[in-house]
Symmetry: C2
Subunit: 233 residues, 2 copies
DNA sequence: AGGCACAGCTTTGCATGCATTGCAAGGTTG
DNA sequence: CAACCTTGCAATGCATGCAAAGCTGTGCCT
């Protein structure tokens, strides 16, 4: 059995990956119309594969599509951010509950080791993007222990949507000299007791704590960088 | 002010809606390759809008795309069904928790009334599709009380994916002469106490009870209707 | 007999083009 | 002067066509 040409990525998938990264890093202004011709030129492809990729983003909620008018970057209202954080709570709490039942001590050791190893970098890191990657890695690793591909992919999509917000939040958190490492270690500790419910509640408290701050961070960040016309939707 | 042409649905959205319905009702055999030319002819459109719609389904996980080989109906392994049910638990439990806090008594009255009104139809209905619609309506109404659009859309996608399985399950449930109405009413009753945690646990128990039976139902249904080549993925 | 290679046919991948529609600027009228 | 209509441009919507890649069936070789 040959590996086929899995390596020869097709244009649509390549464009999709680029667009998703652009969307996650807010290369498009919220509410802004996306010009297909210009974007296809910028990406070195034609409009057909670009539109196919954009339709994937529509299904994922990164982009809105209005018949006859085209594609628009989806605005992130404060309400929607709250909804996304609640969805995140739903998925991560269930994932950690499952993970508590499934995970072997060695799995938890591995995650805790990763936390310890990144702790120094966490303290000294000045790049908020990297900060966010470290934080996100913990949550994704933990969710992976649930061994549920659906939960993992749902969570990955949510993280892509709130990444901008979380970056702003973590930047402010670090500015206060604190880190999330010890909070993460506490969650692992609860998981070791084998009480899935308690672990789930610990995760809930952790995320909702950040949601509070994120709501404030986004207000500042939005004012700073963009002027999102409060989408009437 | 004209209504614009919001009513004039564009071809891509129309095709997408049809495809999603076809996918939910398993008009494509699991693992089967989707022939673009034939399908576009059948739908009365050309391949371009069809491919755009298919790319939305790719993002939602209904369809797999392999570069150079085309689109394939995604197979539903037993493992994946379990994962989807767990994802459903995650979302519905959080939604019911939020709903318990938000919902006014009148909201719960409305849902309970709908349950009572459909109870007779539930008992006498012989169409499993209709049976499933009634059951699904309750869960979606309840989730809507969370007032979280993200949770609602995630749940709708999951329901579309497991609809076939649930239809088989509910058919068998009804054959035993029982219904889910009283289970649903019990969940509402717990919500009235205002204890979100308890309501969440009641919902969890309800779904996981059905998940047990669904796993068995799918084994039978798969054997009956399709011969899904256990996708090596 | 089994497997490999090649040829042809089918299907996908994507660029292009044209019709249609939205959008905006300028002109006209009350 | 403001509101409405008109007209031109630009961008979308989608069908089509061609090149490239996959699939299949046949015949040859081992």
């Amino acid at each position: 059995m040959k590996p086929l040409n899995q390596n020869t990525e097709d244009a649509v998938s390549a464009i999709y990956a680029q667009l998703r990264e652009m969307a996650a890093s807010f290369a498009f202004k919220p509410g802004e119309r996306i010009n297909e011709s210009a974007l296809s030129r910028a990406l070195g492809a034609s409009r057909t594969p670009l539109r196919e990729a954009l339709n994937r983003l529509v299904a994922e909620g990164f982009v809105d599509f209005h018949a006859g008018r085209g594609f628009f970057c989806r605005a992130l209202s404060e309400t929607r951010i709250q909804h996304l954080y609640d969805a995140r709570v739903a998925i991560e709490c269930e994932a950690v509950r499952q993970a508590t039942q499934r995970a072997r001590p060695a799995d938890l050791d591995a995650i805790e080791l990763a936390l310890d190893q990144s702790h120094d970098e966490y303290q000294t890191c000045t790049n908020p993007i990297r900060l966010m990657e470290l934080d996100e890695a913990f949550h994704m690793q933990l969710t992976a222990l649930s061994e549920n591909a659906e939960l993992q992919s749902l969570l990955a999509t949510i993280y892509d949507k709130i990444r901008f917000v979380r970056t702003a939040d973590l930047r402010r958190l670090q500015a206060t000299g604190r880190s999330t490492t010890h909070r993460h270690k506490r969650i692992i500790a609860v998981m070791r007791t084998g009480d899935g419910m308690a672990a789930s509640e610990a995760m809930r408290a952790h995320i909702q704590d950040r949601a509070q701050h994120a709501a404030e961070a986004v207000r500042l960040a939005f004012a700073d960088i963009y002027a999102p016309k409060e989408a009437s939707e």
